[in-house]
Structure formats: C-alpha cells, structure tokens
Amino acid sequence: MNAVLHLASVSRVHGEGATEVHALRSVTFRAHPGELVAVMGPSGSGKSTLLTLAGGLDAPTSGSVWIEGTDLATLDNAGRARMRRTSVGYVFQDFNLIPALTAAENVALPRELDGEKGRIARRLALTALEEVGIVDLADRFPDEMSGGQQQRVAIARAIVGERRLILADEPTGALDTDTGEEILRLLRARCDAGAAGVMVTHEARHAAWADRVVFLRDGVVVDETGADEPEILLAGDRA
C-alpha cells in the first residue's frame, strides 16, 4: 500500500539573506490510505506551510512532494491544478463556500470545473451531501445554514468524486464542541473508508481523533505518537 501523500525531505525557505525564514526544514511525512494524521504545533511551527505544500499550492525550496505516486514538480501548472481538483480535497476553518451558490452547487463546482456535465456533477454532489448527512439542505445558500452545516458542505465538496487525500486546516476552529465532534466524526469516517487525511489543529482534543499525531516545532518534526501499527513501521522504504 503506497502513501497517498509523501513529502520527501521537504524544506521551504521564505525570503533571502538576513530576512530568511525556514518554515520547514527537511521534513519527511507520509499519509496512507485509511489513515488520519494530525499535525500539531504552535503558530510559526510550519504546520500551515506543510499543508500548503501537500496541496500543491506552493512548491518546496528543496525536497519533493508526491501525491498518489506523482512528483508534483514534474507537473506543469495545469497538471497541478488538475491534480488538486481530482485527488485533493480541502477543508478550511472558515468553510470558504461561495455565497452565491447553493450547497449542491458549491459541492458540484470542482467536478464541473473538471469538465463533468452539470447533471452528473449534481448527482455526485447529492451523493456527497448524503454522505455528510445534509442532502435535505442541498438547495440552501450558505447564509441559510449554521456553521456546522456549512462545514458539512465544505467536507462534501472536499470528498466529491472520490478524492483520496483530504487536507483540513483547523476544520473545527469556528465550531462549538459538539458540532466540531460531528465534523471530526465525518473526517474520521471518510478516512476509515479509505481516504488519507491530514488535519492541522492546535487542539489536542481534536488531534486525538487521528491515528497518528505529528508535532512540529520550528519547521522540524520533533515527535510523533501512534506510529506503532505494523504497516506504518514498514513504511520506511516506500514512496
């Protein structure tokens, strides 16, 4: 079983000379199918940079990022954009839904951008909304929904079309405890169903839903918990 996401000795330096900032220093990181990995660290530790690089929204200064066996550096801009639409789903703290589109239209958008016919895209969107338990809200606009419901729409958008890598940046940050747990339950269920999930959070209680917790400090992985499953111990030599 190959890693869905593999960061190989990735470094990212912002700026030059005296103002140089090392956001990540030679970080190696993998997320496998069926696995939810939490990344924890104080602000400035590099956790957001890690997620940005993992999603191909930024390129490393050195090292390489592989998604489903493809080195992102070998893709041109169009190829990377396509990879983001078809393989990677994002969930943000502030939902990032388009206010002028209904829930179903928001979820269908990445599929439509990818050339899917409107009718098929809508059907896929409804399936995804069903999976997150709010298919009855398909025709509502974001401002007609609670925060928890909006985040469910965002998760549906992240998983529509069977994308296998879910990247979540503080997905529960704007939600109360119970609603936040429902969102974690959904992410967890998606990973249990075979996706690889990477979730950045500063809350230990939320990180605890993950199979593995990676601690970042000053751009370096300083520790890791829960990596004792046999298949993960064998991960050393695979891409």
Binding site: A204, V213, D223, G226
Partner: protein
Amino acid sequence: MSIRQAMLAILEQGPMYGYQLRAEFEQRTGETWPLNIGQVYTTLTRLERDGLVEVVGHGGADDQADQGERHVSYRATEAGRSEVSEWFATPVPRSQPPRDELAIKLAIAVTIPGVDVATIIQRQRSATMASLQDYTRLKRTGRAATPEEPADLAWSLVLDALVFDAEAEVRWLDHCEARLRRAALDRPPVRRDAPAAAPSEEIVR
C-alpha cells in the same frame, strides 16, 4: 474520596449486596476507578456503623451471582438519604488540589541544573497525547459512542472528563515549553553567582 457517597447514592435506588453495588458503580464509570470487593464491604460496614445503611436480609438479589455466599443486602437509611442530598448539594472543594506528580516533577526539574526540561515536556506530551487518543477511541466506539441507557451516558461523560483533563495537561505542557523558551531567550549572560533559576516572570517584564 467520594466512593462512600457514591455507593450510598446508588443504594438509594434499592437494596443491593456488595457485588451488585460494585457492578452498578463500574457500569457508570467504566472501571476507570476499579473498586475491589474488599473495599466495597469495608465501606458498607462503616456505613452501617454510622447508621447510613442497614442490612435487609435478602433484598434486591434476583440474580445468584455470588452463590449465596455473602448474600447480605444493604439499603440506605433516612440518615443515609440526607447524606446523599447533602453530597449533591455541596460543590466538590478545590481548596486541596489533588497531588499532581507532573507539576511537581517539572517544578523540581526547572530548578535543577543539567536537567533537560524540554525533553521531559516533549516525552510527557507524547505520552499524554497517546492516552488522549485512547480515550477518544473509546468515545467513538463501544457503548459510549451511542449511549442508550443512563449508565452509558454516565460512562461517556466520565470519558469526556478524562479527555478534558488530558487536553488541559497538553495545553499546560505547551505553555510551559513556550515560557521556558522565552525565559531562556531573555536570560542575561550567565552569572555564576546567580541562583540556578531566576523567576521567569521578572525576566519577561
């Protein structure tokens, strides 16, 4: 410890013998604080001595779990009931914080030259995080995940307490780490005659 009042409160629901009482307690707390049966009977004996429970020859024992060996059932007396009401009506005091081995360990570690406090913090955080993952796993599977009976709900709330405790510990460790780093950055060039660890608050200001 509140075991005494907890047992009394359970006995208010009806007469029980020791094994039943222990099972009822553990049903609600998920064996987080296991009771040995000797402890249960010792407590019952004391409660009886204090007039808070009384023996009822053979009540409430409709299963034959303990082979009739110690088939003595107890029930709460009127005095016992008012002790339970009193217990529920009174907040648990925080004036005597329970002994916290980790806080003591760090408090000592920061004052002893040559101890790598950062590593202590890091190891503890990983260990506490691993426990937090275990509690969370229990929370999302098993009877706590979909509580059907009041006892299941009780157990899931106990799990929540463990989760919040562990979370607080992780946050406190993060906080200690940040404070120690700041103190190290702000520390003036080492003076040999200075005490090993100056209070960091003063340095920060």
